[in-house]
């Protein structure tokens, strides 16, 4: 069934080399990856395996040395930097381990700002941001600054910021690494809820417990994809369907 879903990311033969001459360091070796709508995909592997480099390339944050990347049907390899930025603005949301929230802004403003950047009017942005914060359970913390929030609450603000513009794909990097397991589960449930017929989530993680929320797990080692299997969430769903 997953094979017919819309591909949000299609990377073919992607290689990445840093430096030149004696300092030449290959990080990715002809990696191919497809991330489909309707799926939460985990990209797992040991430190230095190239997983962060791979997501930054598929997100259009840096260029591949070789290969082709399509993001939401757009061929990034043929686009200028500003065109790629426009695709990111329209299609992507990001969540990071360290939240990356502006400390001077309230939770509401942190979320609303990205919406204003995307073209929403101030009133529209505020209303949508408030709604997004309510969805992540922080409706009553909208006026608080990040310094007044716990780590889990900050991550939920970051998720609200990523989801508020209804991106096609949310990309996350170790989103639960700084959180306790209970808060981590709550955060994953929020990301899981974003997965829909036209939307997906791609997360980089070391944490095998997150497989419970994943439809697919792609494993990468030494810059090569070494495994691509169903995650526990899909397996559980398929078992429930079979029963």
């Amino acid at each position: 069934m997953s094979d017919v879903r819309v591909p949000l990311v299609r990377a073919e033969g992607v290689s990445k080399v840093y430096g030149t001459g004696a300092l030449r360091t290959p990080v990715l070796h002809s990696v191919s990856l497809e991330v489909r709508a309707g799926e939460l995909t985990l990209l797992m592997g040991p430190s230095g395996s190239g997983k962060t480099t791979l997501i930054s390339i598929v997100a259009g944050l840096q260029r591949a040395s070789e290969g082709r990347v399509e993001l939401c049907g757009e061929d990034l390899s043929r686009m200028s930097e500003s065109q790629v930025a426009r695709v990111r603005r329209a299609r992507l949301g990001f969540v990071f381990q360290t939240y990356n929230l502006f400390p001077a802004l309230t939770a509401l403003d942190n979320v609303a700002h990205v919406l204003r950047m995307k073209g929403a009017s101030p009133r529209e942005a505020d209303a949508t941001a408030r709604e997004a914060l309510t969805r992540v359970g922080l409706g009553d913390r909208a006026g608080h600054r990040p310094g007044e929030l716990s780590g889990g609450q900050k991550q939920r603000v970051a998720i609200a910021r990523a989801l508020a513009g209804r991106p096609s794909l949310v990309i996350g990097d170790e989103v639960t690494a700084a959180l306790d397991s209970h808060t981590g589960i709550a955060v994953m449930e929020l990301l899981r809820a974003h997965v829909g017929p036209a939307t997906g989530v791609l997360l980089v993680t070391h944490d095998h417990r997150l497989e419970a929320f994943a439809d697919r797990v792609v494993e990468i080692e030494d810059g090569r994809v070494v495994g691509d299997r169903a995650g526990s969430f899909r397996a559980t769903r398929e078992e429930a369907g079979a029963a």
């Binding site: 962060t52 997501i55 930054s56 997100a59 944050l61 840096q62 500003s82 930025a85 426009r86 695709v87 990111r88 603005r89 329209a90 992507l92 949301g93 990001f94 990071f96 360290t98 990356n100 929230l101 502006f102 400390p103 001077a104 802004l105 403003d109 700002h113 990205v114 919406l115 204003r116 950047m117 995307k118 073209g119 929403a120 949508t128 513009g165 209804r166 096609s168 990097d173 829909g196 017929p197 036209a198 939307t199």
Partner: protein, 397 residues
Amino acid sequence: MRHPFPDDGRVRGARPMRHIALQSLLFDRGKLLGALAGVAFATVLLLLQLGIYQGFLSTASALLDHVGGDLWVMAKGTEVIDNGEPLSAGARSIVTSPACVARARGVVLSFGAVRKPGNALDGVQIVGFDPVTDGAALPAPTVPWELARGLPSDLHAPLRVTVDTTDIAKLHLPADPVGSSLQVNGRAVYVAAVTRGIRSFALTPFLFMELPTARRLIDLAPGEVHYWVLDLRARGCAAEVAREIGARAPDLEVRTAADFRARTQDFWVKGSGAGTALGFSALLGLVVGTVIVAQTLYALTREHEKELATLKAVGASASELASFVGWQALFLAVVGGLAGGAIAFAAQRSLLDAGLTVVLDAEVVVVAVLSVAMMCTVASLASIRRVLRLEAVEVFK
């Protein structure tokens, strides 16, 4: 799925960044106050140095400005109003002979010595002016121009002079000096009126008096003056008048009032090095202000690199990111500049009371505004460069 905020290809520009930039600046009060103090300090220094410079210019040429006239006739080789030589009594008929001359007013200007109580000698500048009785069709300039007590007509009687409020203590006169006497060049003169804030560039007290009194004090013959100031029937005939006078009296020099004014200002302000010293102080203020503002903006930019990289990751354009620094620089320039301006204007009165003329006119304010704007622009360059070089991929590091 229909996108709620579909990208229409337009770059949103700087406006969405204004809130985030200003909130970030206001959030860090310590840095904000430091930067505002830097801009205010630079603005105060700049305004006061420029104001003092302008004050020097206006003081140096005050007499010329207020006596007015179209042409000034003087002894050949005279470079500056304070260093004139007496013209013979016959010069008057020569300078009034061209048909275009409507009126000629005599001016005597000479340094003199005043003996103060206790026998101490000090310098004064004797200013003899013509109360103007001919050429009534033309308005008569009021000399002296700023009287705190008395009227110009109080100087009609012989040996009557004015002193300035700022020189009363220096000349050891009573608080109300009217009626007091002074020994000038060995002769007794009497204070009949008091001027307000009329000072020479070298701070030598001005004593205004009518021509006959001035001639008596410096032993000039009747009809002798240092300058003849000519009011013309038409300004266009100035060159013709100068040529006619030059042909009849080669030992006389004729200058336009504007030219003589510029020469006098150059002599005192540029020639004395005062202009250079003031310019250097103003520049120093700008450099200090630039460094403080640049440090603040750079520190704020570095502190927010992760967040700015996040915005770049979600598609912020280069101009949007640069405007993060731009709005902060603008805020510091406006608020710091206004604070500095308020302080400078408040200080102006105190400095005037202390005897220093500070002219904060539109010209000075415009130069200060442009300089502060340039200062904040220069200060923001390093931060803008850093922001523009920021890689979105930094968000994963």
